[in-house]
């Protein structure tokens, strides 16, 4: 019975789709194959994210893709609502950066039933059913954590106490950057994470947590922040405690946004692992292929590097975000 209803529903949906197609076909020559993309962004919680948003918006315009953009303000329920709206609007493709890793199966199944391909950008989801999305375009967060860990291991002298400022609890970058970092420092028992708290990827969060750490931890040598903004907040807290960030307490962050790079060039941060937000162009190329029904690889990794203080001074003038 259920099957019958679903079939009937999809037939109706298909009919509606073709009706739409023929309707717009009568207009200008190009509008018939215009791709509409529904993009559900996490929010604008950091400079990285706004650079990411801008890249998606600019590249969509350049590629002639009609972009429907929504901002979830870091709430999963808002993102689910946005995706449901896109399904109702019958967009050609849905792209989104999941706020957290789990809880997406139901809404993605709805998209699948409506025959709308889904592309994950920047963050992955945790689901056994890999048919729910076509491809995942984004950074390898575990690798980013490993790069940070490598630098830590190479630059540690003697016993080192690390405090960690985690990203939003449950978010993929927070989980993976922690994992990669711990993996690498495990080889050196001298390096210990003595405290770890979430600063929600924000400057105020990073500052408040760091203020508390500075009072509760007798000895802090290194701060490992999961993004630049929390690192920048920590710098403020360290200065207020009468210590010198970058010297008395070393700082490692991930992202490499402009404010972070400036602090790195000024010697207040010691090492930044890059996480490239400019994935708009790759996303539009993938979207075109997916809509045409072409095969795409299940995982596309963005290209990223790392920055020391000297490299930051050289790279800063040409930084786009």
């Amino acid at each position: 019975m259920l099957k019958k209803i679903t079939t009937a529903a999809s037939v109706i949906a298909l009919f509606a789709l073709t009706a739409c197609g023929s309707g717009s076909g009568g207009g200008t020559a190009t509008s018939g194959d215009t791709i509409t993309m529904g993009f559900a962004q996490v929010g604008a919680e950091s400079g990285w994210r706004t650079a990411n948003t801008k890249s998606v918006q600019d590249e969509a315009k350049a590629a002639g893709i009609d972009l429907k953009f929504s901002d979830a303000q870091q709430k999963q329920e808002n993102q689910i609502k946005a995706i449901r709206t896109y399904i109702q609007q019958k967009v050609s493709v849905i792209a989104f950066s999941p706020v957290v890793e789990t809880g997406w199966d139901t809404v993605l199944l709805e998209a699948k039933r409506a025959n709308i391909p889904v592309i994950l950008t920047d963050r992955a989801i945790d689901s056994d059913d890999t048919s729910l999305y076509k491809t995942f375009l984004g950074s390898d967060f575990v690798e980013e954590g490993r790069k940070a860990g490598d630098w830590m291991v190479a630059n540690a002298t003697g016993p080192t106490n690390v405090v960690e400022l985690q990203g939003t609890t449950g978010a993929a970058p927070a989980i993976d950057r922690k994992k990669g970092f711990e993996e690498k420092i495990a080889s050196k028992p001298d390096i210990k994470i003595v405290a770890s708290q979430t600063g929600d990827f924000t400057r105020s969060g990073g500052k408040q947590v760091m203020e508390a750490f500075l009072k509760s931890q007798p000895k802090i040598d290194v701060v490992y922040a999961h993004n630049d903004d929390m690192g920048l907040g920590a710098i403020e807290a360290i200065k207020a405690a009468g210590k010198v960030p970058g010297k008395d307490i070393k700082i490692i962050t991930v992202d490499a946004v402009k404010d972070g790079m400036t602090a790195l060039a000024n010697g207040e941060i010691n090492f930044i692992v890059e996480c490239n937000p400019l994935l708009g162009k790759q996303l539009m190329d993938l979207a075109k292929k997916v809509v045409k029904g072409e095969q795409v690889p299940a995982r596309v990794v963005t290209e990223e590097g790392t920055f020391t203080q000297e490299q930051a001074k050289a790279a800063l003038p040409n930084r786009q975000y």
Partner: protein, 328 residues
């Protein structure tokens, strides 16, 4: 009245003792660069915005209203000021920016007051409009970017010190002014009268509309100053996160302080205690190292406990038992 404040006071003391047991250095105070430095100072500094917003909220709630838009108003204040300051470092620009922001906040308060007192829309719905739209306005002002400023006079509002953090001095000054204005004149009684029965108080000659209008403007200006503190503390305007969910913290502070959401009698001292409890709770989580995954559960348990012991039935049971003990 004293009995009402007893339980919040015990809760605050319990949290502080918990910190003392887990990290004895929590109470350590020293002078750093000419100002006090220590865990307790952090609680005061970071609790200042919540306290200020909770003060405005107390008066709104006393008139049987509620203001959900304070977080969004705080975000707008920070955004407007930082955009106005831009790359400038001089005091004049900073003060002009803050003045513009606060005037704008007063206008937003007038809007809330207009919806509630003028059009008679339910407060929760009326202020929900600005709660959602306001953050959008802040995003428009900053163009979705985090605006970083480098302006020392502006930095003082949220991160500066005059031995104690300037932010808490501002909040306490406002608390003092409100206490004077409402407890030493008839204003406080009039606000309570409007909360108990707006219609009866109007018939008795109280200008209830004007009073309602005034408390919403006051709440918005408080939210504006709090927004300045929040953005000044990190020298950046973050339209998306500044003051996010602070309306909930403020309402909670008011409720923990013993003011009823049904309007009428209110307690400013209670609100002060409530705001301190909420900030101490957050700082406690960081200090004693509660794992981030269980932070919300930990906070929920503390809040539920505080609310439970304040419930009339629980209070009656507790006082009955203590009386029995006293007799025997």
């Amino acid at each position: 009245m004293k009995n009402r404040l007893l339980w919040p006071l015990i809760a605050l003391a319990a949290l502080l003792v918990l910190n003392l047991v887990v990290t004895p250095s929590f109470f350590a105070l020293r002078i750093q660069d000419g100002h006090l430095y220590g865990g307790l100072v952090d609680v005061l500094k970071n609790g200042a915005p919540t306290l200020l917003i909770a003060l405005g909220m107390t008066l709104v709630i006393a008139t049987r209203g509620i203001d959900l838009s304070v977080g969004a108003v705080a975000a707008i204040a920070g955004a407007v000021t930082c955009v106005h300051i831009g790359t400038s470092g001089d005091a004049g620009t900073a003060f002009a920016g803050m003045a513009i922001a606060l005037v704008l906040c007063a206008v937003l308060g007038l809007w809330n007051g207009f919806l509630v007192a003028g059009l008679g829309i339910q407060p929760i719905v009326a202020t929900l409009v600005l709660m959602t739209a306001g953050r959008g306005v802040a995003m428009l002002v900053t163009e979705g970017q985090i605006i970083t400023v480098n302006n020392d006079p502006f930095r003082q509002v949220g991160a500066g010190f005059l031995i104690l953090p300037i932010s808490i001095l501002i909040s306490l000054a406002v608390l003092g002014l409100v206490a004077l204005a409402t407890r030493k004149t008839a204003l406080g009684m009039l606000i309570e009268a409007v909360g108990v029965n707006p219609e009866a108080s109007r018939l008795a000659g109280v200008r209830s509309r004007t009073i309602i209008w005034t408390v919403y403007v006051f709440a918005a200006v408080c939210a504006g100053i709090a927004g300045l503190m929040i953005s000044s503390n990190v020298s950046a305007a973050d339209a998306n996160n500044a003051g996010l969910w602070i309306e909930m913290d403020a309402i909670l502070a008011v409720v923990i302080g013993g003011t009823s959401l049904a309007g009428g009698r209110y307690s400013l001292t209670g609100t002060l205690l409530g705001a301190l409890i909420i900030q101490t709770l957050t700082t406690t989580v960081y200090t004693i190292g509660v794992a981030p995954e269980v932070t919300l559960v930990f906070k929920a348990i503390v809040v539920i406990t505080v609310c439970l012991v304040q419930a009339p039935k629980a209070r009656a049971a507790l006082s009955f038992r203590s009386r029995k003990v006293a007799v025997s």
